[in-house]
């Protein structure tokens, strides 16, 4: 009955592949589609958080810090609830990392504050004796690239349909709206407003002055990014 198949080895190989792949698709795809949905409480990045994420990538923080808490008692005791795939729904690319020279950062905002990070990044040893983390003084001077952050944000909204300007459900049952600026000038204004809220929670007077004068040093964006890791 299937003699003709045996006489066409290439077709036969393709047929075998399709049949086996079909089983794979049925097993993998629905689960994958479900797990990649954002979970309640996962929000798209604001403009300043996006900029901070770029700083994080640019400085290679992910070379030493992971963002993936594994389901082990020892890990969850230290870092909090194990990571869920939906929490990375808006990460392109995700920053899981594969190396823990430093600690995991996936929920760092649960146990560190903006003020602490602000003091830590400029001189880690002052807060953590013996820390081998380098100092990042230039982040306190170099300006944040809001243009690229806005471009990334618009791309995320247009191509990946990341939900900006619509209500996002939160864990406490309420909703919030993450705005996407209509144009570049508005994006800059929006970032500056966010930056002000961030430096007000810190204690570095120079940063507060910078923001008051319309400047956003990279550290402010990074603080915004770190503060939403939870």
């Amino acid at each position: 009955m299937f003699h003709w198949l045996e006489k066409h080895p290439f077709l036969f190989a393709v047929g075998v592949f399709v049949v086996i792949a079909f089983a794979g698709l049925v097993e993998v795809l629905p689960n994958f589609a479900q797990a990649s949905q954002p979970i309640i409480g996962t929000k798209p990045y604001t403009i300043l958080e996006y900029a901070g994420r770029q700083v994080y990538i640019h400085q290679d923080c992910n070379a030493c810090h992971s963002q993936l808490i594994r389901p082990f008692k020892s890990s969850t005791e230290r870092y909090g609830h194990y990571s869920l795939s939906g929490e990375y729904a808006y990460d392109r690319p995700f920053l899981w990392g594969s190396e823990r020279t430093g600690p995991d950062l996936h929920r760092v905002a649960d146990y560190r504050t903006i003020d602490w990070n602000e003091k830590h990044m400029i001189n880690p040893e002052a807060l953590v004796p013996g820390s081998i983390m380098p100092k990042y003084p230039w982040l306190y001077k170099d300006p944040t690239d809001i243009n690229t952050a806005y471009a990334t944000q618009v791309a995320a909204a247009e191509f990946f349909h990341v939900p900006y300007n619509v209500p996002i459900p939160l864990k406490n049952g309420k909703t919030t709206i993450i705005p996407l600026a209509p144009n570049l000038a508005a994006a800059h204004a929006m970032a500056l407003k966010e930056a002000k809220a961030i430096v007000d929670q810190g204690s570095d007077k120079t940063l507060q002055e910078d923001v008051a004068h319309g400047k956003i040093p990279q550290i402010v964006a990074l603080l915004a990014y770190l503060n939403q890791l939870k």
Binding site: R78, G80, Y111, R112, T113, S203
Partner: protein, 308 residues
Amino acid sequence: MKINKLYVSAIVMILLMLGFTYIAVGMDSKSAGGDIVNDLAILGAIVIFSATIIVAIKYVRQMQTDKATGKLAEDNWDGIGEYENELPIGWSIIFLGTIVWAFWYMLFGYPVNAYSQIGEYNKDVKISNAKFEKKYTNLTKTQLTNMGESIFIVDCAACHGLAADGLNGTAANLNKRIQVKSVEYVIEHGSDNHLSAHELATGMPVMSAGLTKKQIHTVAEYVSNGFDKSNKAGAKIFASTCASCHGADGYGTPYVAPNIHTFTPTLVAHIVGHGKHGGIGVMPAFKNLNPVQLKAVATYVTAISKGE
């Protein structure tokens, strides 16, 4: 002659394999001879090699001599045919058994016993929690303080410092109940950290009305320095403005206002579990500590605040 050749090559092969085994194992003088497991492994290897070769010889000889009989099947492939033999009974049993097993596995075997990483994690947590409870139920004060110290080093020292001095204003100095700066902040801004540890308790209202900056500073110093009796002016302001809620010596009134004279384990545990914001900054809540750990770190902090 034919048979001899077969046997000779079989013996050569066995010897060769044994030789390889010897080289593989014997290269490392410690593994050969030293451990019975290695001897057993070599013995096993000899048995497996020999059995393989003997069986191979049996079939080779059978192929050389066998004359097949029976009815040929209709299909043939490039002249190679197939006999219509009966199914071997053992094979049929295994075949049908596999089908039955497949249904069992699909409907019960897999769904009931399926492995899940999170399932294993949950089991792990349960076991380790049970172990913790068993080991640390009735702790003496020293044990509690020691446990508290290790938790403090891991969870708190990053902000409060190893000496609990607050690292230059990064966090509260825990060597005393409260700093001047914090008291001033509370008087001027009020406080809603639920420090009274009661659902119905409201926070502290802004109390700066009717007090000058200097008076606020004076009463703050009085409170911060452990209700310093020599600070007469401070004591007076406290008695008239604050004592109605906090009690004459600041030890607090249940459900109304917290103890601001000393730390107590209950107060500290409440702060650690709920977080706090005030004149110095923000402290996050620590939800990952279990009740015993919370009590331990609270006991430790209470002890250092009293200079113990």
